[in-house]
């Protein structure tokens, strides 16, 4: 069965520093991978996705993610964090059957 793990409940980073939010997955076959962000009392917003091709994908708000097939990881990154990036981030995977499975989420705190 497919699954997604976000090993960190919370990530703290200072404004201006690089950030990484980790995600690992387990699926059979080729996965489609996604990152979403959720602000308080709002629905999830799409950030970026990996379908095929270049392992480094760029998305909204300066975020990017690196697909690593050997490590079955899809970590979210940003070179310079902003206070406004503070939110809840969800990694998701979709495989055969078109069912999207979400991780438990990682709360990002960016301190000024």
């Amino acid at each position: 069965a497919q699954s997604v793990a976000q090993p960190e409940d919370q990530v703290n980073v200072a404004e201006g520093n690089p950030l990484t939010v980790k995600c690992t997955y387990s699926v059979s076959g080729n996965p489609y991978l996604f990152w979403y962000v959720q602000y308080p009392n709002r629905g999830l917003q799409f950030l970026l996705k990996y379908i095929t091709g270049d392992n480094l994908v760029k998305g909204s708000y300066g975020f990017e993610a690196e697909f690593n097939k050997s490590q079955t990881s899809f970590h979210l990154k940003k070179p310079s964090a902003l206070v406004s990036d503070s939110a809840l981030y969800f990694c998701a995977v979709r495989q055969g059957g078109f069912k999207t499975i979400f991780g438990a989420g990682t709360r990002l705190f960016v301190k000024a």
Binding site: V4, Y32, F34, Y36, N41, R42, G43, L44, Q45, F46, K49, I51, F90, A92, R94, G97, F98, K99, T100, I101, F102, G103, A104, G105
Partner: protein, 114 residues
């Protein structure tokens, strides 16, 4: 372009009462999803529609939950009767491409069962 619209945003009911949530997906999106998000957790799929057909409802508690998507556009999710454990945020999402496309979410309906 209008996004996914859900109503109501908030609902407080007593246990054993019925409740219904409504969703209007983005125009042209044939795939519609209902997710439940418990506090501090990721969304969990309840049901997925392709047009008006429910193609994945394996996680829908069918003894008390029901859903419909008449004419393949709007959808309604109903709970009857509600239990304390049903307190959660119910998210509706739609997508243009069911295989590679991202999901577009509404703002959710927060249910509190007392």
């Amino acid at each position: 372009e209008a996004g996914v619209v859900q109503s109501p945003r908030y609902k407080i009911i007593e246990k054993k009462q019925p409740v219904a949530f409504w969703c209007n997906p983005i125009s042209g999106h044939n795939t519609l999803y209902w997710y439940r998000q418990n506090l501090g957790q990721g969304p969990e799929l309840l049901i997925r529609y392709e047009n008006e057909e429910a193609v994945d409802d394996s996680q829908l508690p069918k003894d008390r939950f029901s859903a419909e998507r008449l004419k393949g556009v709007d959808s309604t999710l109903k709970i009857q009767p509600a239990e304390l454990g049903d307190s959660a945020v119910y998210l509706c999402a739609s997508s243009l491409d069911r295989s590679t496309g991202e999901l577009f979410f509404g703002e959710g309906s927060r249910l509190t069962v007392l």
